[in-house]
Amino acid sequence: MAEPMLENDQPLLVADALGKSYGRIAACRDVSFALYPGEVLAIVGESGSGKSTLLQLLSGQLAASSGCVSYRMRDGVTRDLATLGEAERRFLFRTDWGYVHQDPAQGLRMAVSAGANVGERLMAVGWNHYGRIRDTASNWLERVEIDVARIDDAPRTYSGGMRQRLQIARNLVTEPRLVFMDEPTGGLDVSVQARLLDLLRNLVAELHLAVIIVTHDLAVARLLSHRVMVMKGGRVIETGLTDQVLDDPREPYTQLLVSSILPP
């Protein structure tokens, strides 16, 4: 993963002392980091570690109890997500952001055609020429290795791996700069996972995407990410360059996670 990164560029997204509590229970505490264009950050940890809560806070789907998230918009102005109106936030989600759910059924409309699933994002940003929308949708199906002959079929007729690739095409068609991914290889067979990871890895590098990916699978983190944050009990307990954290883990919990991987 060596996509060129400019040295003097500005961060795309900054989390500052971010936290979320439910009454006396802190789901996520004091998380701070900066994400740069083209950078892939993996958030790893077991279920209940707070990583999914953190992803929802970062993507503005959940209001923070403390701290803030700021994002550099396409016009170059950095905004605090909490100050965006609902319409602005939804527009951001349809254009400059993507969100890949673990379950493709949550990110797709299962009863409409694959072409419409991809085209819908384009129409939402003002495209109205049917032929161009269909061409762009076919092009994206090819890029995610779906047979274009299946463009008029609904994703409920697709296999799990195809659905996940379609969800990725739907997200990337508007050329977002930042994509959130929640366990994108979660429910898939191992061979299907490998293909999806390879595809994601190439797309991320080609499109110079910034990605925040939540995963419990350290092999996924190693393959896709530049940096990792290890979470436990709602806190970030260790962070650094991915190969450094995985090859030379410092914290007891990280050492436990790394030593729990079965050898290939």
Binding site: P4, E7, A194, R201, A205, L241, D248
Partner: protein, 232 residues
């Protein structure tokens, strides 16, 4: 002459939390430098910490003390305290690393595995693939294998693919961890030649080699790692 690598008093200890917090000292007081066009070979018995030192210079292992000075785009950067982003930049533009084993992604063709570092540094795909082919050819990987992923290749073939991938970018620093370990005499000679060419281009290298003959052929200087042994 300005050194490309300037390591001063570097040290490393592993703390094994799962084994009751046992402290495993690896090296301490590691001090040496490498000039452009020079190949320094680390010597010492297995377990003396040679690979660990190489990994510290690459930023793969963290450094508990001291300095790992790297000349990157004309300025000195201390990798022991650098941010992850800086380390990634240093790896892209300055330091290459040839490990003992190829860690390849399934499905990627051999020629692309080798061309990838060039493409990442901005070289156009056709040119990168052409240069990758030329290097694979020199390392005696037959052209009929270039479009196949290297996962099913023999150990020696995989190592040669790995060497091609490591030698292809024109980086000013190259770290070599037993690059000739499972190669036959003909291919060992090619690697010796490649190292000589890198020296000629002013590349600073640190190598680990167990073969006395190869060491004799490539080493400009030998640094004995046993003097950095951490166990008192």
């Amino acid at each position: 002459m300005t050194a490309m690598i300037d390591v001063a008093d570097a040290q490393k200890t592993f703390t094994m939390h799962l084994q009751g917090g046992v402290e495993l000292p690896v090296v301490r007081g590691v001090t040496f430098h490498v000039n452009p066009g020079e190949c320094v070979v680390l010597s010492g018995p297995s377990g003396a910490g040679k690979s660990s030192i190489l990994k510290m210079i690459f930023g793969n292992y963290r450094c508990d003390g001291g300095r790992i000075g790297i000349r990157h785009r004309g300025a000195l950067i201390d990798l022991a305290s650098a941010e992850p982003r800086q380390i990634l930049n240093v790896r892209r533009d300055t330091i290459g690393y040839v490990s003992q084993f190829l860690r390849a992604v399934p499905r990627v063709a051999t020629v692309d595995v080798v061309a990838e570092p060039l493409i990442a540094s901005g070289v156009a795909r056709p040119e990168a693939q052409q240069r990758a082919g030329a290097l694979l050819h020199r390392l005696n990987i037959p052209e009929r294998l270039w479009q196949l992923p290297p996962a099913t290749f023999s150990g020696g073939e995989q190592q040669r693919v790995n060497i091609a991938r490591g030698f292809i970018p024109e980086l000013p620093i190259l770290l070599l961890d037993e690059p000739t370990a499972s190669l036959d005499a003909a291919n060992r000679a090619v690697v010796v030649e490649l190292i000589a060419e890198k020296k000629h281009h002013g590349v600073a290298m640190v190598a680990i080699v167990h073969d006395d003959e190869i060491r004799h052929l490539i080493a400009d200087r030998i640094v004995d790692v046993t003097s950095f042994a951490a166990a008192a």
